[in-house]
Symmetry: C2
Subunit: 231 residues, 2 copies
Amino acid sequence: MLSEQMEDYLKAIYRLERDGEPPIATSTIAETLDVTPPTVTSMVEKLADRDLVEREKYKGVTTTAEGETVALEIIRHHRLLETFLTEKLGYDWAEVHEEAEVLEHHISEEFERRVAAALDEPEVDPHGDPIPSEALDPVDDVSATALSEHEEGGRLEVARVRDRDPAELTYLADAGITPGTVLTVDEVAPIGMVTVKLESGAEVSLPDHIADAIQVRRPESERPEDGVSEA
Amino acid sequence: MLSEQMEDYLKAIYRLERDGEPPIATSTIAETLDVTPPTVTSMVEKLADRDLVEREKYKGVTTTAEGETVALEIIRHHRLLETFLTEKLGYDWAEVHEEAEVLEHHISEEFERRVAAALDEPEVDPHGDPIPSEALDPVDDVSATALSEHEEGGRLEVARVRDRDPAELTYLADAGITPGTVLTVDEVAPIGMVTVKLESGAEVSLPDHIADAIQVRRPESERPEDGVSEA
DNA sequence: CTTTTGAATTAGACGTGTCTAATTCCCCCC
DNA sequence: GGGGGGAATTAGACACGTCTAATTCAAAAG
């Protein structure tokens, strides 16, 4: 699992990228998170080791697709929580931030889903900020069931990998599967597994529970920008 | 603040005390929390340093009144969360434990109050276990307002200190205020402060926000046992 | 093409929570 | 009342996230 701190760094870097110009400087991150620059350097090294950010020494960092996925996930948690606290628990909208800031790191995906459902899949939080959607538009799950139905054989682009377990993210990344990867589903091989073929020709077999985390779309479809700003 | 781990140790020790015979052995705690005995020894030393447990070397530990307060607080969080997840988010009662186990360490007192209110101050959780009450029976708050009204001048016993910030707990403990302490409210001195007099004759002035955390009752009143078992 | 200077990194340290291996202690049994 | 044996503690290590102080780098200024 990613530590709470790693999630915070990723979230901060992602936000800074949207405001200013990437790459993001060490000192900027340090100020944002209220830590010293050496601390940022060492944390950023760890993030880079896990391919969550791209790092150029002395220059700064940018998030990778994978890092961005994590950041969006946390931002989604945050905004969903703010909405929930306001709508369902009667918090004043001004006081939800602190609570959400903590809880965003500790809720499960199950909790996220249930809260979103209870709120009727909201698209903006009480501050009016857009809540990053769980699924990015024309999206399916690469899973035995979902795929045997309609996309089998077709070219698909990985849109997101909805998984917060870095062991699995790393596993997928090592196998060459990250957001942006184009793949085809080869067959719905042994029970409980899915086999996909990458553009490189490599074939990868995945257990269903991992395949389920991969969200895909048709390669050429437009990608409506996901508006995401300050929380 | 207490770490998540410290809270877990306290909760475990508290529970073990209720089952078996105190003092609780190092090895018992180790098994419960799935850590090694040396780890328990070192953690227990820290807990003892903060007066959250009483320790007898080579014998074991028992919780102090202060440690018990923390344990009960966490257990209350846990059971309130289980109830909330079940009632309001449609979780199956069998699957709430994991989620509550994590969240119990991260919700604020505000969240706790609002959840309890939303559930109509429940007294048992979905497993049927009693939810430790926020206030112990005939209880008031030692705060400027609460006290200027009815208990001014009377003898009061400290029932609980509802505060999870150890800096404040330590501050109070150092001042001689812990559960069981008998005190009188001297006057509602400068604005935003409360002055209390201890049996020792010492006078302590407290800012309202700390005084608010102290819950008192009349000294001789019965203390109906707070039924609390497994979660 | 130097020099300067401010930012970034390295070096070395610390507190927390954990571990394994070594040692010490308590207490029961003969 | 001395041994043994099992439990507990000490010793020493490590990963994490953080810090300060020292060093190195890069890019702008001359």
